[in-house]
């Protein structure tokens, strides 16, 4: 009984150590900073090249897409990162609408190579993963888009239009 117990403990220990090692090793290489546009720009010098995920509102007029090369560039403007603040400001749909209309907010150019997503349009929320290059352009490896109406339209706001 004692012997089995010791064996079990050793086995559990080995597995735990292996799992923790796996987690630490992969965590280190996959760490990603979740930043807003202004947070990224304020720390510009040391943020270059870092793995970052950033969220912003798409400015429709700035979308340039070349279907030959699949090069896609557009600008995104600052929106708050904290969902509590967004809620206090009246919800995501309203925040996106106001941010897209406010030229004084910080904005950044995003470059992405790939098929243009169907949801890329004015006032959509873009969540981009990638890194900032030396020219201050965000080189996105992954591009995720959400419209506030993705699942349902925010009623009072849309009615207000």
């Amino acid at each position: 009984m004692k012997k089995t117990n010791r064996k079990t403990i050793i086995a559990v220990l080995v597995i735990t150590v292996a799992l923790i090692a796996l987690l630490i090793a992969t965590t280190r290489s996959s760490t990603q900073y979740f930043l807003t546009v202004s947070e990224l720009q304020s720390g510009e010098t040391d943020m270059v090249g870092r793995n970052v995920r950033m969220s912003g509102v798409v400015l429709g007029d700035t979308i340039v897409y070349d279907p030959q090369t699949l090069d896609l560039t557009f600008e995104v403007a600052q929106i708050p990162g904290d969902h509590r603040i967004i809620q206090e400001m009246g919800g995501m749909a309203l925040v996106l609408e106001q941010a897209a209309a406010d030229p004084s907010l910080p904005h950044i150019t995003v470059h992405y190579n790939g098929v243009k997503p169907d949801l890329l349009k004015h006032e959509a929320q873009a969540i981009v993963s990638g890194s900032l290059d030396a020219n201050g352009v965000f080189q996105a490896k992954e591009l995720l888009l959400k419209c506030p109406s993705k699942y349902e339209s925010d009623l009072p706001n849309q009615v207000g239009n």
């Binding site: 699949l70 169907d118 949801l119 109406s149």
Partner: protein, 671 residues
């Protein structure tokens, strides 16, 4: 209509509340059997809840725009089936629908032949149901109406938000987002929800057993069918989501480690482990504690998964956005967790079961390894999900993990799992018959090595893909060889096969997983694509295929959108094999495009084309073409998993005993 829906919903919740209070009185009198009034009230509640759901559906179909939920998910151009299923298309409606599935599951549990509810388990089931009912009633009410005040402002509320306000039905519906107008939307959410909900009953039964201090084997037999059916629907639901996401561009392919996808995988992983270790408890009387932990954990992870989907804590394509119900859901998750831990700690000694793992190479050991890997995967996925939340709470800025984390951390574990599944049939045999087994395993081994060699020269040089291909082909061939070995006379073989259908069902499930692995290798390792701009008559080569552009058409075949379609002819080896019509639907009101891929699907794989850009004046198009070999094995594999599990579920729990009559080749029911 509004009154019917709201009042029947409120009455349904009231009925459950009364049943709950009666149950509490029962428990004070130390009576654990459910009385007739309680079950009657629960049935009445289900009936009223169903009536309420049907009313909401009817209002959607009839486009009653005085209901704000109807305005947000329905418009006149949507087909009736989508108008009905828009119940789960938005936040309020899908929460309401989830509550209904819980009530459905409660109803079934009270009316199946083997009734497994007692007062304690009913108490917890009803509490869960009431919690979600209350969220729907007080926080996210699907029956909320649109009001116009005297000053002309438009507001939203169940009841009049201001004096003199009148119900206003003048806003025409927005309709579901075009990306959701797909068959996937009709079937994926309800199947997934029902799968989730079915885990509630085993959870409550386990809680009841812990409270009453009962730890007999009865629990297992009672919950097995619930767990299996939950698992089957969950598997089907996840696979359908994956298929939908592959079929619609913009959802990120078949699997993207999106937080919501990952969260739905968590209860799947733990319930898969549970199905394995339940069998060991049945046959060997071990793993009792482990099983209790897994039953409780599975439902807690279901709630956690709902929290992730609805709270808007993490960025995800699926998320409903920020919501006021995130706090109550967090509290529910923590409460369930706390209650479970406390009860387990209280009864820990009682749940003791002997530990008698005799050797590290037996079937029991293989089950143990399987569960160790499944639990490790659960930890990896949970860690990846929770990491940004934890760092956010500690440091203020969220530091997360990108999807390479999941790829890197989960791939080795999944490969280990595939190896175990491939050699699983071997473990059913004792050491005595190793020689006999060697004979059967030799041919699959040689064949799979040959096959891997061929793949190395003609398909891929990636060692990872080759490793998976080797494991998959060996596993599949071994199962085939072992099944064929018994096929001396067809009739007898069929009879034996049916007699051992629990084992063969499990093999089907494993073969299904291996086929999915094959599909993943095809998508990740063997895919090739090309894009180019063409005028009519141009051809574009890809592998042995050629795509020829014929013409571009634009027409209003549907009042809501403009259909732009490219007609392509697909050539293979100099012969016309198919016509493809990749296109785009332009929703002009929304300014939104929805890409409709044109594809040729065969067992070999998909030839997938997309219309990226077009110029109807100049008549040119830009097409992206991809050759996705083996991808359809993913869907075949998922189907096989579901069918295999149904096959295994058809075996009564009682007959899953370990047969000791044949020592040389033990006929283990499931391996």
């Amino acid at each position: 209509m509004f009154h019917l829906g709201l009042i029947s919903f409120a009455a349904a919740m009231l009925a459950i509340l009364i049943a709950l209070i009666l149950t509490v009185f029962q428990l004070f009198k130390h009576q654990t059997a459910l009385t007739k009034p309680i079950t009657t009230l629960a049935s009445v509640s289900f009936g009223l809840h169903t009536l309420s759901l049907l009313t909401l559906m009817a209002m959607q179909v009839l486009q009653d725009y005085s209901i704000s939920y109807v305005v947000s998910v329905v418009n006149s151009a949507m087909p009736t089936i989508l108008k009905m299923t828009a119940v789960w298309g938005g936040q309020a409606g899908s929460l309401f629908f989830w509550g209904w599935t819980l009530n459905l599951v409660l109803f079934i549990s009270l009316h199946v032949r083997r009734q497994i509810q007692d007062s304690w388990s009913f108490l917890f089931t009803a509490l869960n149901l009431l919690f979600f009912g209350a969220l729907s009633l007080f926080a996210e009410n699907p029956f909320s109406r649109v009001w116009m005040t005297e000053s002309g402002d438009i507001l939203e509320g169940v009841f009049s938000p201001a004096a003199g306000a009148t119900v206003y039905g003048g806003i025409s519906g927005f309709g579901l987002n075009p990306l959701l107008r797909h068959w996937g939307m009709v079937i994926h959410p309800p199947i997934l929800y029902l799968g989730f909900a079915l885990f509630l009953i085993p959870f409550c039964v386990a809680i009841s057993h812990l409270i009453r201090g009962e730890s007999d084997e009865g629990l297992l037999g009672e919950t097995r069918l619930w767990l299996l059916s939950g698992w089957i629907l969950l598997t089907a639901g996840i696979a359908l989501g994956s298929w939908w996401s592959y079929d619609v561009l913009g959802w990120g392919g078949y699997w993207a480690w999106d937080p919501v996808e990952t969260a739905s995988l968590l209860p799947w992983l733990t319930s898969t482990g549970l199905l394995h270790s339940l069998l060991l408890q049945k046959q060997r009387k071990i793993f009792k504690r482990f099983n209790f932990v897994l039953i409780l954990l599975t439902y807690i992870l279901v709630i956690f998964s709902i929290l992730i989907t609805r709270a808007g804590l993490l960025n995800s394509v699926h998320a409903f956005g920020e919501s006021k119900i995130s706090l109550p859901l967090t509290l529910l998750t923590l409460t369930l967790f706390g209650v479970s831990v406390a009860l387990l700690a209280w009864r820990w000694r009682l749940l003791h079961s002997g530990w008698e793992l005799t050797s590290l190479v037996t079937r029991d050991a293989a089950f143990l390894y399987t569960n160790v890997i499944l639990i490790s995967l659960t930890i990896v996925c949970f860690y990846g999900l929770a990491y940004p939340l934890i760092t956010g709470a500690i440091t203020g800025t969220q530091i997360g993990l990108d999807r390479t984390f999941f790829d890197k951390a989960a791939t080795p574990l999944f490969i280990l799992l595939a190896i175990l599944m491939a050699i699983c049939p071997i473990s059913a045999w004792t050491v005595n018959s190793v020689r006999q087994l060697g004979k059967t395993a030799r041919i699959p081994l040689i064949l799979s090595i040959l096959l891997t060699g061929v793949c190395y020269f003609f398909l891929t040089k990636s060692w990872l893909a080759l490793l998976v291909l080797f494991i998959v082909s060996f596993g599949l061939l071994l199962m085939l060889a072992l099944t064929l070995r018994e096929c001396k006379s067809p009739r007898e073989a069929a009879k034996r096969w049916w007699g051992q259908r629990a084992r063969h069902g499990a093999w089907f499930v494993h073969a299904g997983v291996l086929l999915i692995a094959l599909g993943i290798v095809g998508m990740e390792g063997l895919e090739a694509s090309i894009q180019g701009t063409m005028i009519p008559g141009d051809k574009m080569p890809l592998r042995s295929y050629e795509v020829e552009f014929v013409q571009l058409t634009t027409e209003y075949e549907n009042p809501e959108y403009l259909t732009i379609e490219a007609e392509l002819v697909l050539w293979k080896d100099g012969k016309v094999v198919d016509k493809l019509f990749p296109g785009q639907h332009l929703y002009e009101d929304r300014g939104q495009y929805v890409s409709i891929p044109g594809k040729q699907s065969t067992l070999r794989g998909d030839f997938y084309t997309l219309l990226l850009d077009y110029n109807s004046m100049m008549g040119y198009v830009t097409i992206r073409a991809s050759d996705n070999p083996l991808v359809n094995f993913m869907w075949i594999g998922a189907l096989l998993m579901v069918l295999g599990a149904i096959l295994a579920a058809s075996v009564p729990w009682k007959s899953l005993q370990l047969g000791d009559n044949d020592q040389h080749e033990r006929e283990l029911p499931v391996s």
